[in-house]
């Protein structure tokens, strides 16, 4: 029941803050994300906060630094990451000139929340991933070998990876542009290509961690994983597109096309990203 040394926790927080630099930086430098902060209604911002918190809970539960953590610890970690994200967003947005002295409170709130959420996810992944093995309290000694990956856990981490990758392109205008200019045949080809690439990543490319986190006996499992990856990436991309207002006033076909286009990026997150962030 010893207390963790202060220096060690300070190092952990530092690592998390560096983590956002690596995983969330593109979003801070993306105009559409600041604009999202200006145009989102409060209800949409609330949905974003809720969704991100759920994602953080899932990630910290199944892949975070302390795999043996109980539910209360997972909640505490997630709240800390959200708080760090908001503070870092405030400082960085000011440094980037996006917050001026006369910016009204509603605009500050919108921008800080939108950026803070993406940063929180980066902080979470950074804390968990950038540490050395000696800093991992996996509880029972040996690293990972004692726990078999559960399907639910892998699905949750795949969702985190899909959102992490998808969020980098979801707010850009290019998604809508590609979607409205493409034909059904092309979208179908894109989906097939992504399925092939993610199956290759999970089962044949021998990525680090693939043997540990993906149970690969039998054709049926390959099919199950492929279906899971595409389902997760479509869900993630639809949610992100809705959040960034890409479904507003759009027809059904345009929404579907956008989901497929973004799903391509998200499926890389659900396959390769998943192996990298756990």
């Amino acid at each position: 029941m010893s207390k963790r040394p202060v220096a060690k926790s300070l190092r952990e927080y530092g690592r998390g803050v560096v983590g956002w630099l690596i995983f969330s930086l593109p979003l801070l430098y993306t105009m559409e994300v600041w604009q999202a902060g200006m145009t989102f209604t409060s209800a949409r911002l609330l949905a974003a906060v809720g969704g991100t918190f759920g994602l953080l809970l899932g990630y910290n539960r199944y892949a975070g630094l302390r795999r043996d953590a109980n539910f209360a610890e997972v909640v505490i970690d997630s709240v800390e990451e959200l708080g760090l994200g908001l503070v870092v967003a405030l400082v960085t947005l000011w440094a980037l000139g996006q917050l001026q002295g006369d910016t009204p409170a509603t605009e500050v709130l919108g921008k800080v929340v939108v950026e803070g959420l993406t940063i929180a996810v980066g902080v979470s992944v950074g804390t968990a991933q950038l540490g050395g093995d000696d800093d991992r309290d996996t509880g029972e000694g040996s690293d990972g070998g004692d726990e078999r990956p559960t399907f639910l856990g892998q699905t949750v981490i795949a969702l985190c990876g899909a959102v992490l990758f998808g969020a980098n392109v979801a707010p850009t205008d290019e998604i809508v542009r590609i979607a409205v200019e493409s034909t059904p045949a092309r979208l179908l080809a894109l989906t097939a290509l992504c399925l092939t690439v993610s199956t290759f990543i999970l089962f044949y490319a021998a990525f680090a961690g693939a043997d540990r986190f993906v149970v690969s006996e039998g054709r049926a499992r390959v099919a199950v994983q492929a279906v899971m990856v595409s389902a997760v990436s479509f869900v993630a991309s639809a949610a992100l597109l809705w959040l960034f207002g890409r479904f507003d006033d759009q027809g059904g076909w345009a929404c579907l096309a956008e989901t497929v286009v973004l799903g391509a990026a998200a499926s890389l997150g659900a396959s390769a990203g998943r192996l990298l962030i756990q």
């Binding site: 207390k3 040394p5 302390r66 610890e73």
Partner: protein
């Protein structure tokens, strides 16, 4: 096998984070549960004309007093002077609710010798 306990630093970070998150969520909730946002309502005000190396510049401030952000705001300022009329335009990308954006419109004639009229021509939903 129990995990180490949290130290004062971790509790402090947690406390501050919790306060921040609760404040943000409360602020958003209050706003979301309030009345539905009113459409953009733009008010223009013109500053004193300034002499520039070519012509004259008039400062324009657009303030959005509505509840929704106005996008692609187009402002037209018309100068009616003794020696003819002149029209200038200003495009503002975003005016969020409660925010103001500032810019200039320029004229060849001296605006102080005539009447200036500003109006918002159009804007889009966010």
């Amino acid at each position: 096998m129990s995990a180490p306990e949290k130290n004062w630093l971790e509790w402090a970070v947690f406390g501050v984070s919790l306060a921040l998150v609760v404040t943000v969520v409360a602020a958003l909730l209050v706003d979301a549960l309030g009345p539905a946002p009113s459409p953009p309502d733009l008010r223009l005000s013109l500053g004193r004309p300034e002499r520039r190396s070519e012509g004259y510049a008039v400062p324009v401030t657009a303030t959005n007093q509505g509840g929704l952000t106005a996008r692609a705001v187009s402002v037209e300022v018309r100068l009616e002077g003794p020696d003819g009329a002149e029209t200038s335009q200003l495009e503002v990308e975003f005016v969020p609710r409660g925010s103001r954006r500032r810019g200039w419109v320029t004229f060849e004639r001296d605006p102080s010798r005539g009447a200036l009229r500003a109006r918002v021509v159009s804007y889009q939903r966010p």
